[in-house]
């Protein structure tokens, strides 16, 4: 390799990774900006009412999720609650499943009383609470041990938690609130099942449903794009790099805070929430009575899910390795790619879906649009941020001196990345892949707008059958979805968390 090329390996790699993100993510959003067709829909009060309702639901869901997740996160992350790891695992499992599946489970448990906005907020609040729990727990675990130990000399656990741990971990909590509100606003399956009219459903109906009017669908999402830009700006201003500086588990190991006489009551509270989180999955399993129906009705859907999520996760991690490393090391230009990935993630899935259709639904790109490749493109665009931020968090924990020593030893960018960064951050990178895989597996709202004929992922199969299919079959498919996710998580965890050498 020529000397000049070698010197610019890092910049070239970042350009290539940035180009991937731009083609997959920026192009769809730019395609929408030029839309003028169907703007008359905004003259109707109904459109504004729908937008306001969806925003209201997203805010309410975020409040419920934080109200549950933040205290439980502190308890599971830093106190001596009995069986906290197991409780965390049970509680968190639900966040890796599509909320539609949880809504179906709750329906089997509590019946039709769920069919209103309050039921939707409760369902989604519980579904997304583990996001707040996990980010808060990781945040408080990552607080510098010295800060906590200095407080332990003078204060009781509750005071340490509220005055030291939570303030130090606030970027993690802020990140949780953004992630939950974005997921709640984008949610399509659960609101449609619970008969609550929301914004993404209106967009969906205009693209493939009874109100078919693609021009109006394009027009509908324009103000939401502005909202997404505002959320991105907020994320950059309030959180930005702080999120992964906090989430990097710098804290090291230290004994948990002793809850004393509160230990058992709070243990019960944590396990109660964990049981509540897993209850809808148990209800689904009971209703399904096995997998025989799923195996007859699933057709190629499980294969489609696993292949598209797997390929997308691999791409996400490859691009995330380059961009995440550049973000952590403050390489010029990396912040722009990161911001773009954030923008696409906070943009409601319906908006991204419409944009992807606008870009790829044409003769020249039929090979992508008519095959599973379009689902991979969609997953990559929406979840690229997972790879970028997880790798950034991992790289931020690797002392820069390791790379500098390698550079001083004559190693160029690619060699440093391959021989130093990748081996040292292997478990974190594998975790990023696992997370991206699970995000792809649980996705409904992105893929439902453009999945190719015969290429529907399992979540879409459940969504379409839910309307007219036999209840037992739908439950069986949901059980299959839960088992695939559990299998992926178990297998991934074995690889990611197996004991590290030295």
């Amino acid at each position: 390799m020529g000397g000049t090329l070698r010197r610019h390996q890092g910049a070239i790699a970042l350009w290539i990774a940035g180009a991937f993100v731009a083609v997959a993510a920026l192009a769809p959003l730019l395609a929408l900006v030029s839309t003028t067709e169907g703007l008359a829909i905004w003259a109707s009060a109904r459109s504004w009412e729908l937008l306001a309702r969806s925003l209201g639901i997203a805010v309410a869901v975020t409040i419920v999720a934080l109200a549950i997740g933040v205290p439980i996160g502190v308890l599971l992350g830093r106190t001596d609650v009995v069986g906290r790891r197991a409780a965390w695992l049970l509680h968190a499992f639900g966040m890796f499943l599509p909320p539609l599946l949880l809504a179906l489970g709750w329906f089997h448990l509590v019946g039709s009383m769920l069919f209103n906005a309050v039921g939707l907020v409760a369902t989604l609040g519980l579904a997304f609470a583990p996001v707040a729990t996990s980010l808060t727990a990781l945040g408080v675990m990552g607080v510098d041990a010295a800060l906590e130990e200095a407080a332990r000399v003078t204060a009781r656990p509750w005071r340490i938690a509220t005055r030291i741990l939570l303030p130090a971990a606030w970027p993690a909590v802020a990140l949780a609130s953004i992630v939950v509100s974005v997921l709640a606003f984008s949610e399509l399956g659960a609101p449609m099942f619970l008969r609550v009219d929301v914004f993404p459903a209106a967009v969906f109906a205009r693209l493939g449903g009874v109100d078919y009017a693609p021009g109006e669908a394009f027009a509908l999402i324009l103000p939401v794009l502005l909202l997404a830009l505002a959320v991105t700006a907020l994320e950059r201003r309030l959180i930005g790099r702080r999120s992964y500086a906090v989430l990097g588990l710098r804290g090291g190991s230290r004994p948990p805070l002793q809850l004393g006489r509160w230990r058992w009551p709070l243990t019960l509270a944590c396990w109660g929430i964990a049981m509540l989180s897993i209850a809808p999955v148990a209800a689904i399993a009971l209703r399904a009575g096995g997998l025989s129906d799923a195996l007859r009705w699933a057709e190629t859907a499980p294969y489609n899910s696993i292949v598209t999520a797997g390929v997308a996760a691999t791409l996400i991690v490859a691009v995330g390795l380059v961009v995440g490393h550049a973000v952590a090391r403050r390489t010029r230009g990396a912040a722009w790619v990161d911001a773009l990935a954030v923008l696409v993630f906070v943009t409601p899935a319906s908006v991204l879906g419409v944009g992807l259709i606008a870009v790829w639904n044409r003769g020249a790109t039929e090979l992508v649009y008519r095959t599973l490749a379009i689902v991979v493109v969609g997953f990559f665009a929406r979840y690229a941020i997972v790879g970028v931020r997880v790798v950034a968090a991992v790289v931020a924990q690797i002392p820069i001196h390791f790379e500098e020593a390698a550079a001083a030893s004559g190693a160029g960018y690619l060699r440093r990345l391959g021989r130093i960064v990748l081996p040292l951050g292997a478990r974190g990178v594998a975790f990023a892949w696992l997370l991206a895989l699970v995000f792809g597996l649980r996705d409904l709202e992105t893929a439902v707008l453009f999945y190719p004929p015969g290429g529907e992922p399992l979540t879409v199969r459940i969504f379409t059958l839910e309307a007219n299919g036999p209840e037992r079959v739908v439950a069986s498919l949901c059980l299959l979805q839960a088992l695939i996710t559990a299998g992926a998580l178990a297998l991934g965890s074995l690889l990611v968390f197996r004991r590290a050498r030295a």
């Binding site: 010197r7 390698a406 030295a502």
Partner: protein, 235 residues
Amino acid sequence: MIDLDDVEFGHGDGAVLRGFELHVGTGRSVVLLGPSGSGKTSVLRLILGFATPRRGTIRIAGELVSSARTILVPPEERGLGVVFQDLALWPHLTVRDNLTFGLADLAEREQNERIAPLLERLGLRAMERRYPAELSGGERQRVAIARALALEPRAILLDEPLANLDAPLKRELLQLFRELFRERQATVLYVTHSLDEAALGDDIAVLENGKVAQQGSLDELRAAPSSDFIRQLFS
């Protein structure tokens, strides 16, 4: 060998170094002495190419490697060896792999020829298959210096490598460094805030207010300090 001329460097609006001049001749050992926060590490990072000067020039063996706001030669092409304060031994590589990492262009036989005498000289022969976590503090220091020397660098830069060691081990390693540098006639820039380590250098450059206030041998600095700060430092 290493020449910094009229270098300015800082973070934000402030300047850590201003009008900074330093010259390290071939085969000479220079100790850069200054209090914590005086910019010693910044000097090393500028020479290594990890930081960019706002103004001024940096030359290595006569070649212009950095000028105002520009890195002209990247770190991996400067031919320097470095020992960081935290040593930065790669924890996933064995002692042997740490030493041969920078010798990737050489055949295995040549790599062996290069590192065998170093392992022998530094008493690391029995440890070449071990990982850094399996070594004592003193052994890690020796691996770090061996890794830097294995490159046969044009100059070797050390950033307070003995800062966190107890006194006996520090004395032992200082003696080892002195012998190694003399044997190899190495060009050395050694950064420290400790007077104990200053004796390692042929010359001592005292850093004060972002500049080298005075450069000379230990005896010269003691005999004719150019400022009150230097007088107090050596009193």
